[in-house]
């Protein structure tokens, strides 16, 4: 006897929202997240014979969704990777060449990140700022920090060199920090 019924209508109603939220947390864009969810549902439905009913359907669907998201990021970046002038400059700087650090004196945090992390509202701001990261910076950061991919995998998927990737991470952190500082301090003030 199968515990879980394979009914597309029930799937979409039961798990659609959770899947969308997961996809959104990785892609930072609702339309893209919806596309991925749809692709995942279609792929799941096509291979429904392989679903044995031993796992909860949600876990199975989420597994498929994860693959679709990484695929999506890879495809999107194949089309859009253009060498960023600012990244190239940092990458060419003598300091970076010899020490591997893109800047010697980063600006100090405008708020205490450890303290902010204790506040649940902070994470909504964090997600928001993460979504605002641009193109390849966003993709590199998400693949590394959220999907836990190795440097080699990310380089392959985004088609960039390991050095260039390091500078991309650096740039991603810089923009994220700037955005967090503006938005987190703003929301703290308005309270």
């Amino acid at each position: 006897m199968t515990e879980h019924v394979l009914d597309p209508d029930i799937w979409v109603d039961e798990y659609g929202d959770a899947m969308l939220r997961y996809a959104y947390s990785r892609l930072g864009d609702q339309a893209k997240a919806e596309d991925c969810v749809q692709e995942a549902f279609m792929a799941a439905y096509k291979s429904r014979d392989r679903y044995k009913g031993t796992h909860a359907p949600k876990a199975w669907l989420m597994g498929i969704l994860k693959h679709k998201i990484v695929d999506y990021i890879r495809k999107a970046s194949r089309e859009t990777v253009t060498e960023d002038v600012e990244v190239l400059q940092a990458y060419e700087s003598p300091l970076y060449k010899y020490s591997g650090i893109p800047t010697r004196n980063p600006r100090a945090w405008a708020f205490d990140p450890a303290l902010a992390a204790e506040n649940s509202d902070f994470w909504i701001v964090f997600q928001d700022c993460l979504s605002k990261l641009k193109g390849v910076h966003h993709d590199a950061f998400v693949l590394r920090e959220l999907e836990g991919k190795s440097t080699e995998e990310i380089c392959n998927e985004l088609d960039v060199t390991a050095n260039y990737l390091c500078v991309l991470f650096h740039r991603a952190r810089l923009s994220l920090k700037e955005c967090l500082e503006i938005n987190w301090l703003d929301s703290a003030k308005s309270e």
């Binding site: 597309p8 929202d17 439905y45 020490s99 591997g100 650090i101 990140p113 992390a117 649940s120 190795s150």
Partner: protein, 91 residues
């Protein structure tokens, strides 16, 4: 045993600080504590890694506004597409 700035930066670019071995962590912290060149920079990298690690471990509900959900049109569209797929398979 002494690491160079480059090794420290590279180690943090390749791995989250939390995933390093205990020995690597000790060496890294030692370098960062005394280094005037990369200390500040890598301290921030580590702070970032702490934040993102925590962010990753949050449930989706804690970081995404509750209002985000699959809209009715999209739901219907997905269901239709799946039904179309199964009709095709039946033929």
């Amino acid at each position: 045993m002494l690491l160079t700035c480059k090794q420290v930066s590279r180690a943090l670019e390749h791995k989250n600080y939390e995933d390093l071995s205990r020995w690597d962590k000790i060496q890294l912290r030692f370098h960062i504590a005394i280094c005037v060149i990369c200390g500040k920079y890598n301290t921030q990298v580590m702070q970032f890694q702490k934040l993102t690690r925590r962010f990753r471990n949050l449930a989706d509900d804690d970081r995404i506004p509750a209002s985000l959900s699959l809209c009715e049109e999209k739901r219907t569209e997905i269901k239709k597409a799946m039904h179309a797929e199964s009709d095709q398979a039946d033929e």
